[in-house]
Symmetry: C2
């Protein structure tokens, strides 16, 4: 195993471990619990769930895996803060979306060869990537892992 | 820049960006604010600050940079949960420790060559490292970055 492959393994391990942490909490919380704010005046569990699906859905695009699966979530869970969108999916619907989405994303991630992770992501131009080769697909995984952990730190407060 | 150097840059960039996020909050909060719980019944700001210093202090040891600077924090901020230790440093003292510690750690981090990040950390045996080469120094940076982000997600609730 060369150091490239090691670096890829390290980042993907952290991603999958973080997903596992989040899913353990998600499965432990009832639908009713997810309707609560994680702290007084802060986001509700349901918002964080929708937000994470929306952010991870954009990874599909950034990693060149195809089109977003749930572009309709963007408005309610990314553009708008919690409690602003008047119609959002039910907790049950979001749970189903999370599972379908994460299964699809996992398959795509596992299908990429180590060296492909060092290719530019789809939001960086060839010219910029030449100068900033860290703007690669692996960096998308890394920044989304830290984003996920940030919200897990909040989500766990529903306990 | 080869892909090794790129991977190291990516991880260190995330570390330093996370430290910057945390420090921006730390500097924005008053001592009195840091005495509050981040959410009802959860850790106080002062505990999270002490906890992060203690965890980052252990990185000094794991990365082979020398001895911990503040081993006395371990008991109150790692072994014990919040509100259990009867005597803890003041917020002012912890702020000073954070700054001294982070300055020292930053210098050490910046002094390491890219290839040295792929060496085993000090808590893995040569034999295990042979089989599990991802247990390297860079992985310490990665796991502590996700740990830091997890707590930043909570610390920000003091706002």
């Amino acid at each position: 195993m060369n150091t490239n492959d090691i670096a890829v393994k390290m980042v993907l391990d952290r991603w999958f471990a973080s997903i596992k942490n989040f899913e353990a909490l998600l499965n432990a919380f009832s639908d009713e619990q997810l309707q609560r704010e994680v702290a007084p005046g802060k986001n509700r569990g349901i918002y964080l769930l929708g937000h994470l699906i929306a952010v991870h859905d954009d990874m599909i695009r950034l990693l060149g895996f195809g089109d977003k699966m749930y572009p309709e979530l963007q408005e309610a869970f990314l553009t708008k803060p919690d409690k602003v969108a008047t119609e959002i999916p039910s907790v049950a619907a979001l749970r189903a979306m999370w599972t379908s989405h994460n299964d699809a994303l996992t398959k795509k991630i596992n299908g990429l060869k180590p060296e492909e992770w060092f290719e530019g992501h789809t939001a960086v131009s060839a010219e910029d990537f030449e100068k900033e080769p860290h703007r690669n697909k692996l960096n998308i995984m890394l920044t989304r892992t830290t984003h996920l952990q940030y919200h897990i730190g909040q989500f766990i407060f529903l306990k």
